[in-house]
Amino acid sequence: MNIRIALPASVAVVGMLAFAGTAVARDQIRVVGSSTVYPFTTAVAEAFGKASGKTPVVESTGTGGGMKIFCEGVGEATADVTNASRRIKKSEVELCAKNGVTEIVEITVGFDGLTLAHSKAGTPFKLTLGQVFLALAEKVPDKDGNLIANPYKQWSDIDASLPATKIEVLGPPPTSGTRDSLHELFLEKGAETFPAIKALKEKDAKAFEAVWKSIRKDGAYVEAGENDNVIVQKLEGNKDAVGVFGYSFLEENTAKITGIAIEGVEPSYEAISGGKYKGARKLYVYVKKQHVGVIPGLDKFVAEYVSDKAIGEEGYLSQKGLVALPKEDQDKVRKSALAMEPMKPELIN
């Protein structure tokens, strides 16, 4: 490149930088947060954009990262909405409040099921929460109720009715929201089924937490990365392995993999929506009420999200793998979201 061209060009860029600092008013909604909710919020954003012209920008930052950006403060430079695959934490509400984000509208958009699944070529089997705990926890109770390092190598070591194959579970790493759900929905509940651990819970809550929050590190649990597609692919190649991922990935790959029934309930749309399946978790979207009226279209975006054609049972989100809330809950969510009722921080623990 000729220097006579290059020099003015770079001067122009540097000049632009100086002006960009004083950005013009933002007319595009900005969403951050969970990668689990990302596939659903993007679908809503697209539908909203088709109707209104400006499609919201949806970033995939993870639930925790999203909360940090969301709670940075109020104003055009901050995000308007954050996705979360778990409920907002008390500490996050406090962080928000400290930075001036005092009015947050909570929207429960639906359920996601945490599923265990294996290749169709493998032996089908069912598990109880207790068995999941015995297969995955680092320390498990022995016959006398003392905690020992997990001795189980094969599923049949846990229960004779299970197949005599090596325990090999492919799941998400600790940074993932899905991993949190694995601990809270399966391991905590599973641990409580053992009287010895239940007694421990009453005696020493910290020690109890350590029991269900630690996953075995002897190779039976393999951290397969944030990308659930990778886990599905690995299951296809290894018929004895069990994978942990969201229900939408199971639904999308029913031709290749089968869900494992937990406590006798197969992971299905009906079972998750009806609350029968133990691995169901709620997905949330949090909206900054202070931005309504400042960022154009934010209220309409929320209205699109809670509309029946989006989160309803027949809505387009259910085709994307979101499991709809029961009818009454949906109506409640819709009513409070349309009225932009801020949540009460004292209800969060």
Partner: protein
């Protein structure tokens, strides 16, 4: 090489020994060692080539199908009720029309199917963008309302994948007896004496095998000492009982299910999916209604088998039947997927394109280039030609070399802290991406430019100085032009590096779902490698193909850029 003893001119203390057996052995061993080394080299290249070929073949196999797309050609009667529900005829009113429904209704009446299930099946086969073309046509020419318009409607990603061969093999055989259907729609029993004997026998075998498998499972549960485990055998026992009853005597109807190949009957213009079979009769439900309930002669009706059991594929029998019929009618065509290059991102795989990401990458790289090239060249010229060699310039040199090796995520964190938080630049903007990537490639360009300047022979500069040019003139008129090919090569390789980066963009918000194509440096944008990463994380199977296709595009771009670098070097390089 201790065995080289002959040195010309040196006093030969030892006699040159070339003929003894030991010497010959040494020579042979040296030849062997060289041949071995060549083999090592060839092996290394073969291993690398195999990796590359496997990688590229894998990507091509996965990605190439995404460059074509199936669509449906159908004549759509454009009714005013759906296209212009408010009857105003204004562009806004026309834009709000339900064009997807217009297309769906046209397909529905073509197939002659009715009911909620049919509507739901069709809306899953057609893309949510199937009416977009019709909308554009009607909006540019409102007179089309009331006419019948030929439309090319996109099929959904699932239908598209099915047609690309991820579905099932379909086998057809002519029926052998006179077949009489009991009805034209709903539940239908087809009577054809003896026509289903072979199918029934085969089905009975399959059911017998399944009963055996289920029984083994149930027995395993029942042996358990735990009552809850024994309970799990109950549903299995129930299924066993139903299946066993269906094969208990020769006249009982054998049950078909989703775990065996689906059997259908094409008769009188309709398709019936069978649920049970005896030697003489077949019962099931009509997926496409029959035109009449008349008896069909042998050869005038067909037995159709979808070989892959329904449970093992994504598209169920009803949809396969509809697609099969549309294909037989010549309505389905496969064409080049232009949308992939003209559309922005979308959550519908069949509508998603890379244009947004491509434009984002170009804008980002433009900022990077505009900053990097002048700054990098100036820095290199000063350091190489003007700066004194002292401890301070040494320190700068060490730092530049270090910066070139810093992990790229660090630059992203720096961008977040400096450009977003301190300068208040917008998130997700190509200008910030460009700045961050400029920091990333600047060291590479400075190092390359200095190497290129150093490669120009000092005699050129000295000659210029000798005829009276100033130091600056000597460098800008003579040295720099000669070093330019080398500098360009370094710059292009640096740009190619920047094109492939995602990590630094994560922190500044460019890893995002962005539908609108960016029009300027401060618009929200994403980049090609980010698009690849985002698509790879989505559950829909069709996005796997899109991911591979986007990788192909990125690889092509890198190939072109690196090719350009080589061409520039060859074209302008001068040797002395």
């Amino acid at each position: 090489m201790t065995d080289v003893t002959f040195l010309p001119g040196a006093p030969s203390a030892r006699r040159l020994d070339l003929t003894s057996d030991a010497a010959k052995a040494r020579v042979r061993s040296r030849y062997r060692s060289e041949a071995r080394f060549r083999w090592y080299g060839i092996c290394a290249i073969v291993v690398t080539a195999v990796f590359l070929v496997v990688l590229i073949t894998d990507i091509l196999i996965k990605g190439l199908p995404a460059f074509t797309q199936h669509s449906l050609s159908i004549d759509v009667p454009v009714t005013a009720e759906l296209a212009d529900p408010e009857g105003k005829g204004t562009p806004e009113a026309l834009a709000a029309g339900d064009y997807n429904k217009l297309v769906r209704e046209a397909v529905r009446s073509h197939l002659g199917i009715e009911g909620r299930a049919a509507t739901s099946n069709l809306s899953k086969l057609l893309s949510t963008g199937s009416g977009d073309g019709l909308r554009d046509a009607v909006m540019s020419d409102p007179k089309l309302i009331g006419q019948t318009v030929p439309v090319t409607a996109l099929l959904s990603d699932d239908a598209d994948l099915y047609l690309k061969g991820t579905g099932t093999k379909i086998e057809r055989a002519d029926g052998v007896a006179i077949a009489t259907p009991s009805d034209v729609k709903g539940d239908i029993t087809i009577t054809a004496p003896g026509a289903f004997a072979a199918d029934t026998a085969a089905l009975r075998d399959v059911i017998t095998k399944r009963v055996a498998t289920l029984t083994a499972g149930a027995e395993l549960y029942e042996q358990s000492a735990d009552a809850t485990v024994r309970d799990r055998a109950k549903p299995l026992r129930e299924e066993i009982a139903t299946l066993a009853a269906s094969i208990s005597d020769a006249n009982a109807p054998a049950l078909l299910g989703s775990h065996v190949p689906s059997l259908l009957i094409a008769i009188n213009g309709g398709i019936v999916k069978l649920s049970s079979l005896t030697n003489d009769t077949a019962s099931g439900t009509a997926l496409i209604p029959l035109k009449s309930a008349e008896a069909a002669q042998a050869g005038a009706w067909q037995r159709v088998t979808y070989v892959t059991p329904e449970a093992d594929r994504k598209v169920d029998d009803a949809k396969v039947a509809l697609l099969d019929r549309l294909q037989a009618d010549g309505k389905v065509s496969r064409g080049f997927n232009t949308l992939f290059f003209t559309a922005g991102d979308s959550r519908e795989a069949e509508l998603a394109g890379i244009r947004g990401a491509l434009v984002g990458s170009i804008l980002t790289l433009a900022v990077t280039l505009a900053l990097c090239l002048p700054i990098g060249v100036m820095a290199a010229v000063y350091l190489e030609e003007f700066a004194k060699k002292n401890w301070f310039t040494d320190l700068i040199e060490i730092n530049i070399n270090n910066l070139a090796a810093v992990p790229s995520i660090v630059f992203g964190l720096l961008g977040l802290a400096v450009f977003l938080n301190f300068f208040g630049l917008p998130r997700s903007a190509p200008i910030v991406g460009g700045l961050v990537l400029a920091l990333l490639v600047l060291p590479t360009i400075i190092i390359a430019a200095r190497a290129a300047l150093r490669a120009v022979p000092p005699s050129i500069k000295e000659a210029a100085l000798g005829v009276g040019a100033s130091h600056q003139q000597a460098i800008f008129h003579h040295v720099l032009p000669l070093a330019m090919p080398g500098i360009m090569t370094g710059t292009i390789i640096g740009m190619a590096h920047a094109l492939g980066e995602t990590a630094p963009l994560l922190m500044i918000g460019m890893v995002a779902f962005i539908v609108d194509i960016p029009a300027g440096f401060t618009d929200s944008a994403t980049a090609l490698p980010v698009q690849i990463y985002l698509w790879s994380d989505l559950p829909e199977a069709a996005f796997k193909q899109k991911t591979a296709a986007a990788i192909i595009v990125l690889l092509m771009l890198l190939f072109v850029m690196n090719g350009l670098a080589i061409w520039l070097r060859k074209r302008f390089e001068r040797r002395w």
